[in-house]
Amino acid sequence: MTEKALHLEVVTPEGEVYHDDVTMVVLPGVEGELGILARHQPLVTLLDIGETRVKRLDGTYDYIATGVGYAEVLFDKVMVVVDHGEIAGRIDVERAEEAARRAREQLERRDDPGARAEIDFYRAEQALRRAENRLRVARRAL
C-alpha cells in the first residue's frame, strides 16, 4: 500500500524554509510532540522551540529546527508558521556554537550588578535556547 501524501509548508518572517509532499510530520507542540499523518483531523496548535521531523516520501527524514508559532492541519496540508526555521543540513554549526558560547558568557554575569545595564538577559536566554536547538537539530544531519 502506498502511503498518502501530506503537503508541508514551513513559513518564517525571513521566508519559506520548506515545502514538499511528505509522509509524516512530527511537530513540537507546546503540550508535547504531535505526529501528523494524512487524513489527520483539522488541527491548530501552538508550537514551542524544538525540532520538526519530516518523513519524506522515500522514507528518509528531514529535521528542521523551528521556533515558536503555530501549526495548522487541514485537508492533508500542514502549515507551520514560526518565528524561526532552519533545515538540519543547512545549519551553520560554527555560528550556532559561537552564539551559544556568547549567550552563556552573558548569562554567567547575571549576578554581576554592573552587567545588568549592558546585557539584555532575556535576549541572551532566548539566543541560547535557539542556538542549542539549532545545534541539537544540526547533529541529526551528521
Binding site: V11, P13, E14, V30, L43, V44, V81, D83, H84, A127
Partner: protein, 292 residues
C-alpha cells in the same frame, strides 16, 4: 589666479571623491534590493499570522480581556521609538526622523504627558544624547541588516513597558520606503494593538471543526506578541530600505555634482594652460625682438 598645479590637484581630488560616491551608490543599490527582498519574504508569514488570529478571535467570547488590546482610559505616558540608521551620508533620512521625534516630544510634554524616547540606530542615539535627552532604550548595529530576532528583542521590551503601565501607548516613528527618491515619515501607534487589526466583528467561524491545542483563546493570546513583532520588524525593514534608497540618491547627486565640477575645472585648466602658452610665446617674441 589658480596655478596649473593647483587646478590639477583639485581635479585629482574631485575624481577620487567621485569614485567613492559612485561606489557608495552601487553598494546602497545592492543593499536596497536585499532590503526589499526581505520585505517581500515577510509578507506570507504576516498574512498567515493575522488570518489565524482573526479566526481564533471568533472563538473568544470576551476579547476585552486581552491586555495588549486594551485602550487605557487615561494616557499618561507615551513611548516614542525613533528609527534612524547607524550611518550618515543618506540625505535627510536621519534628520527627518529626529526632527519629528523632537516635535512630538514637545507637543506631548506640553499636553502634560510623560514621554519616554527609545532609539534605534547610532545616528539617532548620538544626536538625541547630544541634545541631552535621556533615552529609555537603545539598539544599534542592526539598521544595515535587520533580522527578525532584533525585532523580537525590541518588541519584547515595548510589550513589557506597556504591560507594566510604564507607558500607555507606544508609537514608532520611521521612514516608509516609497522609492529611492522618496520616503514617507510614519508615526504609527503599535500598542495597544488596534482591535480591528486582529479582530473582525463580521468574521464567521470556519465551517470546519478544528481541534485546538490549547484552547483558541489561549492560542490567540500567545500569538498576540507576534503581531507587535511583525509591526516592529516591518518598520525596521522599511527604515532600512529607506536609508539605502536615500543614500543611493544622495550619492548619485554627489557624483553628478562631482561630474559638473570636473567639467568646470577642466575648462579652467585648459584656459590657464592656454594663457601660460600665450604668455610664453609673447615672452619669446619679445625677447627675439629685443635682440633684433
Amino acid at each position: 589666479m589658480a596655478t596649473l598645479r593647483d587646478i590639477r590637484r583639485r581635479i585629482t581630488s574631485v575624481q577620487s571623491t567621485r569614485k567613492i560616491t559612485k561606489a557608495m551608490e552601487m553598494v546602497a543599490a545592492a543593499k536596497l534590493r536585499r532590503a526589499q527582498g526581505r520585505i517581500e519574504a515577510l509578507r506570507p508569514y504576516a498574512i498567515d499570522m493575522v488570518e489565524m488570529m482573526m479566526d481564533l478571535a471568533t472563538y473568544s467570547e470576551e476579547t476585552g480581556r486581552y491586555a495588549l488590546l486594551r485602550e487605557r482610559s487615561e494616557e499618561r505616558a507615551v513611548a516614542l521609538v525613533a528609527m534612524s540608521g547607524d550611518r550618515g551620508l543618506a540625505g535627510s533620512f536621519n534628520a527627518n526622523v529626529i526632527r519629528r521625534v523632537l516635535e512630538e516630544e514637545r507637543a506631548l510634554r506640553e499636553a502634560g504627558k510623560d514621554v519616554r524616547i527609545l532609539a534605534v540606530g547610532k545616528k539617532g542615539i548620538g544626536t538625541l544624547r547630544f541634545r541631552r535627552y535621556t533615552l529609555d532604550g537603545t539598539w544599534e548595529g542592526l539598521s544595515d541588516r535587520p533580522e527578525y530576532h532584533h525585532a523580537q528583542t525590541i518588541a519584547k521590551r515595548l510589550i513589557e513597558d506597556f504591560e507594566t503601565a510604564r507607558v500607555d501607548r507606544v508609537r514608532l516613528i520611521y521612514n516608509h520606503f516609497i522609492s529611492p527618491m522618496e520616503q514617507k515619515l510614519m508615526d504609527v501607534a503599535i500598542l495597544p494593538i488596534r482591535r480591528e487589526e486582529v479582530i473582525s466583528e463580521t468574521r464567521e467561524r470556519r465551517a470546519v471543526t478544528y481541534l485546538y491545542e490549547p484552547d483558541p483563546a489561549t492560542i490567540f493570546e500567545r500569538l498576540l506578541p507576534a503581531y507587535v513583532e511583525i509591526a516592529v520588524y516591518r518598520a525596521l525593514l522599511e527604515s532600512s530600505a529607506s536609508e539605502q534608497g536615500a543614500r543611493m540618491t544622495a550619492m548619485r547627486n554627489a557624483s553628478e555634482s562631482a561630474e559638473e565640477m570636473l567639467g568646470d575645472l577642466t575648462l579652467a585648466l585648459n584656459r590657464a594652460r592656454q594663457a601660460a602658452i600665450t604668455q610664453e610665446i609673447l615672452e619669446v617674441v619679445a625677447g627675439a625682438e629685443a635682440l633684433g
